[in-house]
């Protein structure tokens, strides 16, 4: 059995939390004591049925305001698959929390209120999905019960969305008409929409192909920790521990250590007490090399045949997440996997108007702004472009005054 991580996006009141509540409820994932707590809650739907949204609103302030402020993670499983849901806020002021939930997801569910169709927030969320390179997109047209389960309404909205998806270069988009409130096409197929012949949302989630399809030669492993027991019997033991970001490593592969550029050959791969011949993306391993070279945390081991980019001047997309605006005069810290280096933002190339998707000239960069910048780093970084290899193409900016995570970076090009 494998795991699918997905997240939900939509405007406030589009019914994200209700949809997740419905998925959990109809798959029997809500236990009796939790259900009892729901029934005792003062929050009820207009018709007196329990409000499934409160299942995910875990904070007092969220229940008070009836909105989602921060990401909540929910877990459920069926016979086919395990699911991790990031229930992310739709409200514009919490965009950074949506990016938090989305950055580890393989699939996005975008909710559209069938009464309102494609709105500003739909464009904003779809843009973020495209920017973050989420592989699969499911558009749920929610509240179909409020538009008489109309096929005409559905068709009109998906036509409009398809135009947007083209503009944004979204590759795989699936449309499902649902009512989260009533339960149509969420887990169970709807009796009200005979015209819809596709799968229910759950059925789709259970069957979508989420295997990582990666170039085996894009082998990258940042060194997190050097294992050196330094005991009598393990005097010469020196293992480089880390999680393989992408690609694969085999015993006898020639590898290069960056940034130093020294190379060696893999002598042994250890996963605790196992000694596999091959290890691949996602696995936490310890590698042993034939030569004794200087390697420490922050270095990256790569397949010598396919080296990553190596530069101190990088063009990147930036999503700003701090209430303090970007300050081009100060030095930030850039964390790229296990590597931390000083960094300055040299230039704001443009900012994107999220509503029109236009690129604008910009002189400032504030909370929730998204655009393109040029970075100058103190040390050379061994990275890939985000479009080629997400795992080695992203980084965060840290404000060294506050230690807060100030921005999310996706590397796009080498700057001149």
């Amino acid at each position: 059995m494998n795991i699918l991580k997905f997240f939900t996006a939509g405007s406030v009141d589009d019914g994200k939390s209700t949809l997740i509540g419905r998925l959990l409820y109809d798959t029997g994932s809500i236990l009796a004591d939790q259900l009892e707590a729901l029934q005792q809650s003062n929050r009820k739907n207009d018709d007196g049925t329990i409000d499934l949204a409160i299942l995910t609103d875990g904070l007092r302030a969220e229940r008070e305001q009836g909105i989602t402020i921060d990401v909540a993670y929910k877990y459920f499983q069926t016979a086919q698959r395990k699911f991790i849901i990031a229930d992310t806020p739709g409200h514009i002021q919490y965009t950074r929390n949506m990016v938090t939930g989305a950055s580890t997801a393989k699939l996005a569910i975008i909710l559209i209120d069938a009464r309102n169709g494609v709105v500003e927030q739909t464009i904003r969320h779809s843009y973020l999905v495209s920017l973050l390179g989420i592989e699969h997109v499911v558009v749920c047209l929610n509240k179909m019960d409020m538009v008489g389960y109309s096929e005409t309404v559905y068709n009109a909205i998906i036509d409009k969305y398809k135009t947007l998806a083209n503009e944004l270069n979204l590759k795989e988009v699936t449309f499902i008409p649902v009512s989260a409130l009533k339960g149509d096409n969420v887990v169970n197929e709807s009796e009200h929409m005979q015209w819809y012949t596709g799968r229910s949302l759950l059925h789709f989630l259970e069957t979508v192909d989420v295997d990582t399809n990666l170039d085996a030669q894009l082998s990258r492993m940042p060194v997190q920790w050097v294992v050196r027991p330094q005991t009598d019997e393990l005097h010469d033991y020196r293992g480089y521990a880390g999680r393989i970001l992408s690609g694969e490593f085999n015993v006898n592969d020639k590898v290069t250590v960056l940034p130093s550029g020294s190379s060696s050959v893999i002598e042994r791969i250890e996963i605790f007490d196992q000694r596999p011949e091959k290890a691949f993306a996602g696995q936490s391993v310890t590698l042993h090399l034939k030569d004794n070279i200087d390697i420490s945390r922050g270095d990256v081991l790569v397949n010598s045949a396919h080296l990553p980019q190596n530069s101190q001047l990088i063009e990147a997309d930036l999503c700003w997440m701090d209430s303090r605006p970007l300050d081009e005069s100060i030095t930030y810290l850039l964390q790229h996997n296990s590597k931390v280096t000083k960094c300055k933002v040299r230039e704001i190339v443009y900012k994107v108007d999220i509503n029109t998707l236009e690129k604008q000239e910009a002189y400032d960069f504030k909370l929730n702004d998204i655009g393109r910048v040029v970075l100058k780093t103190a040390d050379e970084l061994a990275f890939d472009f985000y479009t080629d290899n997400k795992a080695n193409g992203a980084a965060i900016l840290i404000d060294s005054r506050t230690n807060l995570t100030a921005g999310a970076l996706m590397f796009r090009a080498i700057a001149d």
Binding site: G58, R243, L333, A408
Partner: protein, 301 residues
């Protein structure tokens, strides 16, 4: 091009090991909080996988309420001996003796809330900058909101509205002096995942997890182990029951369930079929809808 796909337990394990190694790489003085329960036992196993054949780059820390199940303490000491790592114990009793906390009174008195003070004192005494814990997001709705690297201020407080964004698998552990980070490597595991992992790894457990006979009383609809730590009076009827525990905590607030599960397979089957959540057996969560959130804001684990 080839396709990669990890089995779910392998994926969860690899993620947790990655997180543990980030703690080792990013912090000066980390600690692993160890209660003797199944979640922290799982953490110890994951730490072995992350750092062996080297030593753990952190000690284990147990906050001992003095009201523990004896079986848990026996297990703890045996395990520490087996793995050969350092154990630091913070005693709630010491803080009571020194007048730093005052024992609760009344029938439902518990030392559970006093733990927070001892935990914070232990962190301060040893200067820990990161505390690894076995909390899971599926346990409770406030925990579902918590980051994997959760920054606490100098009072140990969690502020849910000021959490750092946590992007991709990049964890920002930068803090100011006096602050610390609570790290939760098994955030994404469910109760059932932990049990399946324990089974796969053939790990030993404290015996209270398995069905046994015990003197119990029924209080507030829950089965509690009869013990000197529970304020009992003539209304409490002691009965002998066949029970086991789903969580390991303070004896005064951890309820038993009636169960015949004597082996891991029985437990897995029982939990798969259960209609009650794990924390449904914890009285400390039932105080109010925001009980856990409030305790976490106050510095609770």
């Amino acid at each position: 091009m080839s396709k990669y796909n990890l089995n779910y337990l392998d994926e969860l394990e690899a993620e947790a090991i990655h997180i543990l190694r980030e703690v080792a790489g990013q912090f000066e003085k980390p600690a692993l909080l160890f209660s003797g329960g199944k979640d922290s036992i799982t953490l110890v196993r994951l730490a072995e996988k992350a750092f062996r054949p080297g030593k753990f780059p952190f000690p284990l820390v147990h906050i001992d309420t003095g009201h523990n199940f004896e079986e848990t303490i026996t297990y703890r000491d045996k395990m520490v001996e087996r793995i050969g790592e350092k154990l630091i114990v913070g005693y709630v009793q010491d803080d009571i003796d020194q007048g730093k906390v005052i024992e609760q009174q009344g029938k439902n008195a518990s030392r559970n809330s006093l733990q927070t003070v001892t935990l914070l004192n232990t962190i301060a005494k040893h200067g820990f900058d990161a505390c690894i814990g076995g909390a899971r997001r599926d346990e409770e709705k406030a925990r579902a909101k918590e980051r994997i690297f959760s920054v606490r201020d100098e009072f140990g407080q969690w502020d849910p509205k000021r959490q750092r964004p946590e992007l991709w698998n990049i964890y920002n552990g930068k803090i100011h002096k006096g602050e610390n980070v609570r790290v939760f490597p098994i955030s994404n595991w469910t109760e059932l995942d932990v049990w399946n992992y324990i089974k796969r790894e053939k790990m030993d457990l404290p015996s209270i997890y398995f069905s046994h006979e015990r003197e119990c009383i029924t209080r507030n609809g829950q089965l509690m182990a009869a013990s000197p730590f529970l304020n009992m009076d003539s209304e409490d009827i002691v009965e002998r029951k066949t029970v086991r525990f789903r969580t390991v905590g303070d004896m005064s607030c951890t309820a038993a369930i009636e169960s015949e599960a004597v082996a891991l397979d029985d437990i897995i089957e029982e939990i798969s079929a259960s209609k009650i959540s794990e924390r449904g057996a914890r009285l400390d969560d039932k105080v109010s809808e925001a009980a856990m959130e409030d305790r976490k804001k106050g510095g609770y684990f």
